[in-house]
Assembly symmetry: C2
Homo-oligomer: 408 residues x 2
Amino acid sequence: MHPDQLTGMIDRINSFNATPGRGITRLTFTPQYEAARRYLVEEMEALGLTVYVDDIGNLFGSLKGSDPNLPAVMAGSHIDTVNHGGRYDGVVGTVAAVESARRMIREGIKPRNPFIVAVFAEEEGSRFGQVMAGSRALTGLLDRQTLYTLTDSDGTPYSEALDSANLKNINRCPSPANIKCMLEAHIEQSVVLEQRSKVLGIVQSIAGIQQATVTIEGTANHAGATPMAMRSDALAAAAEMITAIEDVGSRRAGPSTVATVGNIDCEPNVSNVISGLCRFSLDVRDSDAEILTDAVSGIRSLCSDISERRGVEVTFTEKPRTEPVTLSRSIGQIFEESARKRNLPYMWMPSGAVHDAAVMAQVTEVGMLFVPSRKGRSHVPEEFTAEEDILAGVEVFSDAVISLCGGS
Amino acid sequence: MHPDQLTGMIDRINSFNATPGRGITRLTFTPQYEAARRYLVEEMEALGLTVYVDDIGNLFGSLKGSDPNLPAVMAGSHIDTVNHGGRYDGVVGTVAAVESARRMIREGIKPRNPFIVAVFAEEEGSRFGQVMAGSRALTGLLDRQTLYTLTDSDGTPYSEALDSANLKNINRCPSPANIKCMLEAHIEQSVVLEQRSKVLGIVQSIAGIQQATVTIEGTANHAGATPMAMRSDALAAAAEMITAIEDVGSRRAGPSTVATVGNIDCEPNVSNVISGLCRFSLDVRDSDAEILTDAVSGIRSLCSDISERRGVEVTFTEKPRTEPVTLSRSIGQIFEESARKRNLPYMWMPSGAVHDAAVMAQVTEVGMLFVPSRKGRSHVPEEFTAEEDILAGVEVFSDAVISLCGGS
């Protein structure tokens, strides 16, 4: 690996950013996104890969295998970000995939299986509101019609944004049946590797996720003239629910359950009026499907009790659930073997964050490799992973790609 | 009184509205506000009043007294609204003042003291963020420089909005020393009159109010990958504080204390990121100054405990406090006498809402009269007061104006 080339690619991708100085914002199909994608196209074409885009907006770069009838080894991640996000989420995995191709070419390694670099569209869901939209559409979990009619905050549909992205070389997306396995490298986005002084995390499972919008209808009224006992305060009810949700995540559910309220909006949202309407997001995750179900139903029941006692109405609108997945043990063992040989400290671990790999696991064998996140911070401008850790990750990752491609 | 004229004025003022069909929005110095003010100018000039505006943007209509050396009786309220507010808050008191002048003129009553109709600017604080800005500037509680540099949500300063309002007849504002007393009619904005089947409320006291902005700094982080025990979640901390604040209002402070959080904003405010920053409003009121002080300091101490336990930072930014005020007993007795004569059911009561009258009470004798609000609702589109109740209120109100002006 050439460290300069690696950090050069990361820097270049992050030079395409809608919010310089305030983290990285590169939403799917925006001009910044398109510029970053164009850069990757050039980079992959320079390596001799066959580059094409599918009708979802996913980008692929394909390296021929010596036996073209064998199913492909796929590796990749995404380059879209949350608003004011970090430099590494998605980018590390994208660069690891391109560098794996570069290494094979540079070292004269001929893969037997075809190798495909994949850059999935709209992983974060930050523009069109559904996470992992690109990989979910590829695997058929999300139908094209639903995908195309998703709209961004300006009302622009996915289909229109995709059209205006000025794509060339539109091709059929790879059929899941022709994919042997999928590998993704990613930053950990938590503190476990750092706290245990490990450079690599070999992912055993990816948490399932249930998101929902919780809407509370109370009665807007004058904040000065309405006695406390006569209120139906939507925000006060939401506050009690948020505390209960936190308690489910911390104590009542499983040891690795997380439950988060990250978004809240009230109406009329002014200081001298009791809140009449409050909407907040719910995000519950666990790698055990049953614990996840129980946690969500526990939260629903607690919120119902609170709303009944307070005389407000509560409505749950659940998004499609992402099931927890168990990743390939044999691919994990390939990572493990490489880490041992290279003398890199590693551990097996679950992932609390969901990834395109979790979606791909519905249709193929999946392996996932984590590198540490400083202080566990992610989805924020302070997101950071040390260069030597990324380098170590890419080395082990490309070892596995070469092994799975039957490279020689 | 002519009921049609009364409701005609209310309808006409409310025809100037930025949000038709979604309540009344008429923010200070906006085109809707200016149109309503122009209508009042025409209405008062048609009655023969001398109309002028002060350098704050307060509107006055003056009726000569037979003894011009006597201090003026002032009556009025405001015509600005909250966002998506109601038809009666402020408008009833404005109309009651104009109708008092009309009645004297129609009935040939000659006041000895001058009579001044006052329409105070920016009572709600909905545009420039400080409640009762117009009356507070008039009485010197708010200095001109501070007033002029207040900005709206677009960054427009008060001074610029005032200039663009195209005022004519700018005059010195009435000196507090030349005001004998100030009267304000208002909707109750609570349920007490309705529940006790009274048509009129004679206000004894107006609650003091302490508003503040509470800012919580936590650590934004990935909602899936960050274990519950390792979070500094600003919104979860805010939720616990909001519940504690409600508890102070409901149980811990005085029997008539109210404590409200009506506004909340979080960053980055997305479902899959733990909240790193949360700001919410605090509004605490009581008619007893000591109870108000204790309630606010109790809230501050509870919030400090919560933030310390959770490892987040909390900052209180308090707005200028409005002191509780006791209103004029003798003016109340004039209202009482009129209500008795007219056979209208009335009661003495405190006001939980603050009003321009509370500010004017710092510099002169003040009387305030309430009419019922259906279901106590106010600051919302459903705000409603029956026409016959408004009519009864205006009759008693104008009786008091005539009595205090020494009309004959």
